[in-house]
């Protein structure tokens, strides 16, 4: 089982990914994380407008066996949440880097992006 690690994203040690465009970060969990969880059955998303700090728990993902926190990889205001993923949590398993995204955050401190892992560093962390 080799997990995908797209090269155009940045990663948190806690297995979230970040895609940045126009000062807005889209956040999800990695292919490796969804493999570890398997069978995602519930996703709990934050309220739009909530301001989160980097490393703060901002969502919950539940598999059959366990509930796990999702941490905001960056600070900022929640601009949007993915209603499709709360309606159909299996998207986290089938399309973790696309339709399975969780939240969009308006970056309040873009410098934080430099603290995140490069694809190479994340690959090394998970042994991919």
């Amino acid at each position: 089982m080799s997990s995908q690690v797209p090269s155009d994203l940045r990663y948190a040690k806690s297995h979230e990914w970040v895609r940045v465009a126009n000062g807005i970060a889209t956040v999800g969990i990695t292919d490796h994380a969804q493999h570890e969880l398997t069978d995602v059955v519930f996703v709990e998303l934050p309220a739009v407008g909530r301001v989160v700090k980097a490393s703060e728990a901002c969502a919950v993902v539940e598999s059959v066996k366990t509930a796990s926190d999702i941490y905001a990889p960056v600070s900022g205001e929640i601009l949007a949440v993915n209603k499709a993923v709360s309606d159909n949590p299996a998207l986290v398993n089938t399309a973790p880097f696309a339709d399975g995204w969780f939240v969009q955050v308006k970056l309040s401190n873009p410098g934080e992006l430099d603290q995140l892992l490069t694809p190479e560093a994340y690959r090394a962390q998970i042994g991919a």
């Binding site: 969880l37 398997t38 069978d39 059955v41 709990e44 059959v64 509930a67 999702i70």
Partner: protein, 398 residues
């Protein structure tokens, strides 16, 4: 994100002294994800819990249950001793028959729940929980020593030399007689393993694909999934051969290896208790809704007076099965049950049911709230989600 919030957290910590079954290497080869369970390093899943669960409901699955304990109680006074120690009535067992039973304290609390088989006129095999071996063995030994029957009872804890597998699902009948061929050699006399009826056990001494006699291989038509199936107890050094023969011959039944994750969701759907969840030393079988396994007219047994009082006057708590009624996170052990604005009970088992695609669980509540149809709430991360008490089992075969 992989910070686990529930009681499953302990599953991800590997301590140094975990015990391994004879199938440990097989689990690694099959890509099983290993966790800690009751002091053992066991596979929680191979493919996914949902996949394995549905495979057992629709086809067949094989589980390593070698962590469970096996105890032999034998001798001319074994029957009398067991009837004073267990809640069920072993006198009802003919040779080759088994029954579910509890073993209680004087105060009615449950020491363990177990299966007892009469494998010969004066020989009984007890299958006990892995997490309770270290409690049950001294409990039984002390009771034998203090018993008037002590000169007629022999005891052996065979847990470390025996292993076990469970083969479960509607398509097990398509291949099981290819694995365990011919007639039984002891226990229930049958011409084929397929002739064993529910709760019957037989002895086989050879295995397809191997030369020469082996054994003893005890095969019982029992299980923990709500499906037809068999549980097999054999010497530890034969378990991998049995496992591999089942996987080789089981392809006709789409047999898949299944982990403890699916074992737990399968048993929760049919409301079978798991020690440490539905049962513990502070909980009686009457409270757990297992009164049919407590036989009062057989004479004295440990816990009888407290259990009879609970049965007559009603217990202070009851185990209720429930289904979440709205979209909700899965209920989990430890969550509070709410009625009105008050916490009134605790979830002891809970999961997303793979068969029903809905949150289900078992909870201890006041007896007045245990009636099917009662609306309750489950508190999950500070929010209340609606649930309905339902009849057991939660899942029935269509």
């Amino acid at each position: 994100m992989i910070r686990i919030r529930t009681d499953a957290a302990c599953h991800l910590t590997t301590s140094m002294s975990l015990k391994r079954t004879p199938l440990f290497a097989a689990h690694q080869r099959l890509g099983g994800k290993l966790i800690e369970f009751g002091g053992w390093e066991m596979p929680v899943q191979y493919s996914s819990i949902v996949d394995e669960h549905l495979c057992v409901r629709r086809a067949s699955g094989i589980f390593d249950i070698s962590h469970m304990g096996e105890v032999f109680v034998t001798g001319p006074a074994a029957e009398g001793f067991l009837n004073e120690t267990l809640t069920n009535d072993v006198r009802k067992l003919a040779v080759g028959q088994g029954q579910y039973s509890q073993m209680c304290r004087e105060d009615g609390g449950t020491v363990d729940d177990l299966y007892v088989y009469r494998i010969a006129p004066m020989e009984f095999l007890l299958i006990i929980n892995a997490s309770r071996i270290e409690v049950d063995v001294p409990w039984l030994q002390e009771r034998i020593c203090g018993s008037s029957h002590r000169s007629g009872v022999f005891f052996e804890d065979a847990s470390s030399r025996l292993g076990a597998v469970a083969i479960q699902g509607p398509r097990v009948v398509q291949f099981i007689a290819d694995v365990f061929q011919g007639p039984s050699q002891a226990g229930t006399a049958v011409g084929s393993v397929l002739d064993l009826k529910k709760n019957e056990i037989g002895l086989w001494k050879s295995l397809s694909g191997t030369s020469g006699p082996m054994g003893p291989i005890w095969v019982a038509r029992t299980g923990y999934t709500g499906e037809d199936g068999f549980e097999v107890v054999a010497p530890g050094d034969m378990i991998e051969t049995i496992w591999n023969q089942c996987l080789d011959l089981g392809h006709v039944g789409c047999l898949q290896p299944c982990g403890l994750g699916a074992r737990d969701t399968l048993r929760t759907e049919v409301c079978y208790p798991l020690y440490g969840h539905e049962l513990d030393e502070a909980t009686s079988p009457i409270e757990a809704g297992l009164g049919i396994f407590v036989v009062f007219d057989k004479g004295g047994f440990v816990g009888r007076s407290v259990l009879l009082d609970q049965k007559t006057n009603g217990p202070r708590k009851r185990l209720a099965a429930f289904r979440m009624t709205d979209k909700s996170p899965p209920p989990r052990p430890g969550y509070a049950v709410i009625s009105g604005d008050q916490p009134v009970g605790t979830v002891v088992s809970g999961t997303q049911s793979p068969s029903l695609n809905q949150g289900i669980g078992l909870a201890y509540v006041p007896p007045t709230l245990a009636q099917p149809g009662t609306v309750i709430g489950v508190e999950i991360r500070g929010r209340r989600f609606a649930a309905e008490v339902v009849k057991k089992p939660i899942y029935r075969k269509p």
